[in-house]
Each structure stands twice: as structure tokens, then as C-alpha cells.
Amino acid sequence: MSSLALSFELAGCVAAILLAIGTPVAYWLAYSNWRGKFLLESIVALPLVLPPTVLGFYALLAMGPRGPLGRLWMALFGHGLAFTFSGLVIASVVYSFPFAVQPLIASFEAVDRKLLDASAVLGAGKWRTFRRIILPLSLPGVVTALVLSFAHTLGEFGVVLMVGGNLAGVTRTVSIDIYDRVQSIEYRAANHLALLLLGISFAVLCLVYAVNRCVWAPAWARWTVK
């Protein structure tokens, strides 16, 4: 498998998992009144400030044959986690966590509280209110979260290098591939990949900003009116 295809697979898995995990976490962070909330907020934001090598280093320790995660994985599936695709996915989920959770929190918080009150007095419980009111009104935030976590995973380097190593077809993502080519002075090949990644990243960011500028809002309104 080419390194680019591998990167896409990794980014797709990570974005999907992050949406599933990040949504309840973001919901809780947006609506909880717990006084110790700042603790969880700090933990969620930690990957933003930590060097990827620090994160990767601890991920590697945890996933190693003597680390808790590694041993659990060994017991469940009969093989270790370090230097596997699964290991890469887990480390990337942690690394890209804030990129999924922050836009979700922001969009959940932007939903008018009066709408939630109205939903409650109309008989809707928390789950129905979330499904029918919060989620549809947070759609730009959901798209942003998906796209940003996808793009961020696509471009990661340090964590992949620490946790995944450099196994062709298994953990050699496009950013590692570029680094490899440069090391072996294959500038032309490195340039092709780098240019491709640049183009994709730009397109992805255009998408995010377009969604947030509500370029899509009129179109969305047309689709949903029956």
C-alpha cells in the first residue's frame, strides 16, 4: 500500500473514532456545571502544547510489551500494539483529540440555551434534545471537527515516528515517507508527495472556513425544507 493511502486510512479511522468519543466529551464540557471542569479541559487541550515526541514517547511506553495498554492488547488479541496500525490509531486519537473536541464544544455552546429550555418544556429528554436540536444546529462544528482531526492526523509526524516506526505498508505514513525520501536525497519524489499534501491541506482548510462562513447555510436550508 502506498504511504498516501495508508495516511488516508489512518486519518479516516481517527476522525471517525474521534467523532464518536469526542461528541459526548464535548457535550459534557459544554453543559456541565461541575467546578472541576477545568481539569478535564486542560487534559483535553494538552496535545496542543506538548511536543509530539513527548506524547509519542509516553504512548510508546504504554503500548510496549510491559506497558498497561500493550499488555491488555496482548491479552485480548495475542499481539503487541507498538509498531502496528492499531497502535498508530490509538496514539493519533490522543494526539488529535483537541482538534475534534474544541470545535464541538464551541458549536454546542453557541446553541441558544432558550432552545434547550423550550425543548425540555415540550417534553423532550436530554437525548432527544441533543439529537433533534443541538446536533442539527451544531452541524458546521461537527464538519469542522471531522475535517480538522482528519487533516491533523494526515500531517502528523513525531507521534507516528515514535509509536509506529517506519514499516512500509503498515506504519509508513506520507509524512514519514517524505522524510525518508529527503534523507535518501530523492528530492523529486519528496516534492511530489509534499506538494500533494500541501494541496490536500489547503483544500481541507478551505472546506472548514467555507462551512464556518456559512457558505453552505442557504444550500443546507434548501435540502432540509421538504
Binding site: 432558550k114 432552545l115 423550550a118 418544556v121 417534553g123 429528554g125 444546529l137 425544507v225
Partner: protein
């Protein structure tokens, strides 16, 4: 329709202190029987907090809330029914229509545990009752303010609530539209008969809707009864302002004429003296006189042969068109605000600096603490 022996009265007896705010405490005890009860008071009096507590959106510090025999909140039993289980409809001042749903879907929102067919029937009936069938496929942003108000009312009422709470639902509508919606609401009320608590600080809405008024100020109930009794003899200044008394003038009591049931007061530092209804006061006491701008007559010549006891000479200081009426400021030593129609302005040739006479009925002048 099943009738209970005791009509399901909403009974509220609660205390609620705002978080981090020691000065304001909501401490009220009230009963709301069938029909429309107006909750009246200046902004910040605690009206919305009271409604939030009844709906279950805000938890009172202590007390009890019940509808008939069904208890919704009881602090001594640690009992608190969540808002989605209270079956209380609440129309917010902001209306809070769901912007991503059509009018029809908004109205359907509160109807879930009933068969599809019945639900359609309910929705189309209420769309008809509130005359918004044409709008059912529109989003809230695509319809006018009055239509949004109707849609919000319909959405709340379609759920067959046990109690209806309305928080200034008609603010910002012109008088004609307001009257039309009020008429729909009255018709609905006549058919369904549930306790309705209607918050407003508009005197027009009180007169149009009110069977009973509960006046609230600074977190407490300061009066209740028929609108006339509660609002036309204001004993509190803030309430008077809220009730639309545009003129609040400081006054000194000069003398009492108990046999005639009146007393003379002097206004401000002027030489203006008027007769007002007798109150518990003695000469030298200070107070405020509240007069509604709509209760003041303007004349271009000195009037004669009138029963009104107070006729004051003055000059028009300013004249301002506001909506369908003119607001005249008249300087008689103290400045009065009077409302006149544009027709009267033309007929009397009213203009700034013109000499006029103000006519005040004794019983339009109220002494306020």
C-alpha cells in the same frame, strides 16, 4: 372532557435567591386558578425567575409547587419533577422557535407518544386555530414577527398542557396584531380552561386579557385582585412607572378636605396646586403624584363649566409624533407629559410655545409613597 371535582389550581409557594447575589430574593406564594392571571411588574421584579421555577428550569431553594393534587416540587421531600415531565407549556419572550425546523415540525415537536394519524390531526387543528396553515412549511426566519408569535403559541398549546406560562409573548407587536392574537388566545382559553399565567408590563395587555392581576415587585407580591384595584391605585413608585404612569411628580400636601374626600397638594417647587383623592397624609407630608399621560386633557382656551377640579395653565415645550399619537410636554411650572391624537393637534393648532390649559380629573391623580 373529564372534569375534576376540584379544578386543578396551580399553587406556588417558593423562595429563590440568585446565586452570588444576596440583595435579590424571590419569595412568593400564589395560587393561579383557571383562566388568565396576569403577572405584572417592572423588569427585574422576578417574574421570569418565577416562571422558570414553575416550569422546572430553575430549582427553587425551598418551597412547594403543585397543580391540583399533583406535586411538582417539594423541597422538604427532595422531590423535583424534571421540566420534560411537568406538562407545563411555556412561551418564552424570545419565543425560542427551533430555527432549523419548519413551523409544522416545530409544532409537532412536543407530540411524540401519539399515533401518526392523531398527531397530524392535532397539528392541522392548531394550525387552523391560530390561522397559520399557510406557513406550515416555512422556517421561523422566513415568517413575520406576529406569525412567529402565533407559531410559538400553537407549539405550546398543541401539547394539551396542564398550565400555560407566557412571558411577554406579544412584546414588539403593533396594537392591531396584538389584539388579533389576544383574541385567538382568549378563544382558546374559553375552550380549554386551564390556569394561564401571563407576564407583561404592558397596560394594554392587562386591560385586554386580565381577569386577575398579581403585582410583583422586587421579588415579592405587592398586590392581587382585579386589574382596576391593583393597578389604578398604585402605592409603589416602581409599579406606577411600570403601569404606564408617565407623570411622576413630587408633591407636598397642603391641606385636607375630608368632607369632600380630597386634599390639596403643591407640585415640585412650582406654584402649581392640584386636588387629589384623600389619602393617609397630613399637611407638610411629601410624596409623589402619578398621572397617566392619557388621562390629561388639553384645551386651547381656558375651559369653563367642567366637573374636573384641576385646570392648569401652561405652554407647550415640545411636541413629538410617536406611532399613532403625539406626545406633548407642557410646562406649567412643572412639566407634564400628555398624549393627544394627531387630529387634536391639527384642530387645536398645537405647536411649541402655544399657550394651553391642562385638565386633570381628581381621581386620575394618585398619591404614591
Amino acid at each position: 372532557m373529564d372534569r375534576e371535582v376540584n379544578p386543578p389550581v396551580l399553587a406556588v409557594d417558593i423562595r429563590k435567591q440568585h446565586r452570588g447575589q444576596t440583595s435579590f430574593v424571590l419569595d412568593v406564594s400564589l395560587e393561579v386558578s383557571l383562566g388568565i392571571t396576569i403577572l405584572f411588574g417592572p423588569s427585574g421584579a422576578g417574574k421570569s425567575t418565577l416562571l422558570d421555577c414553575i416550569a422546572g428550569l430553575v430549582r427553587p431553594d425551598a418551597g412547594k409547587i403543585s397543580i391540583g393534587k399533583s406535586v411538582l416540587f417539594d423541597s422538604t421531600m427532595h422531590f423535583d419533577v424534571p421540566p420534560q415531565k411537568r406538562r407545563i407549556a411555556y412561551v418564552f419572550q424570545s419565543l425560542a422557535l427551533f430555527p432549523h425546523l419548519t413551523v409544522e415540525k416545530n409544532i409537532e415537536y412536543g407530540l411524540r407518544d401519539i399515533p401518526e394519524e392523531d398527531r397530524r390531526a392535532c397539528v392541522s387543528e392548531i394550525l387552523g386555530d391560530f390561522r397559520i396553515e399557510k406557513l406550515k412549511n416555512q422556517k421561523p426566519a422566513q415568517i413575520s414577527g406576529g406569525e412567529r408569535q402565533r407559531a410559538a403559541l400553537a407549539r405550546s398549546l398543541v401539547t394539551a398542557p396542564r398550565v400555560l406560562l407566557l412571558d411577554e409573548p406579544l412584546t414588539g407587536l403593533d396594537a392591531e396584531l396584538k389584539a388579533a392574537i389576544v383574541e385567538d388566545l382568549r378563544a382558546w382559553n374559553a375552550a380549554k380552561r386551564i390556569p394561564i399565567l401571563y407576564v407583561t408590563h404592558s397596560r394594554d395587555e392587562v386591560d385586554a386579557l386580565g381577569e386577575r392581576v398579581i403585582a410583583v415587585d422586587n421579588g415579592r407580591i405587592v398586590g392581587h385582585g382585579a386589574p382596576m384595584d391593583v393597578l389604578d391605585a398604585p402605592r409603589r413608585k416602581r409599579l406606577a412607572q411600570a403601569a404606564g404612569f408617565e407623570n411622576l411628580l413630587s408633591a407636598v400636601v397642603l391641606g385636607l378636605r375630608e368632607a369632600d374626600g380630597v386634599m390639596r397638594v403643591r407640585l415640585g417647587d412650582s406654584r402649581c396646586e392640584i386636588e387629589v383623592p384623600l389619602a393617609h397624609a397630613s399637611p407638610g407630608d411629601r410624596g409623589q403624584i402619578a398621572i397617566r399621560a392619557g388621562d390629561i386633557l388639553l384645551a386651547s382656551e381656558r375651559p369653563r363649566g367642567l366637573s374636573a377640579r384641576n385646570i392648569l395653565e401652561g405652554r407647550i415645550a415640545s411636541l413629538e409624533q410617536r406611532g399613532g399619537m403625539c406626545v406633548a410636554r407642557v410646562d406649567c411650572g412643572v412639566t407634564f407629559v400628555a398624549h393627544v391624537t394627531p387630529g387634536a393637534v391639527r384642530e387645536l393648532e398645537l405647536a411649541p410655545e402655544k399657550q394651553v390649559w391642562l385638565v386633570l380629573k381628581t381621581h386620575s391623580c394618585h398619591l404614591v409613597d
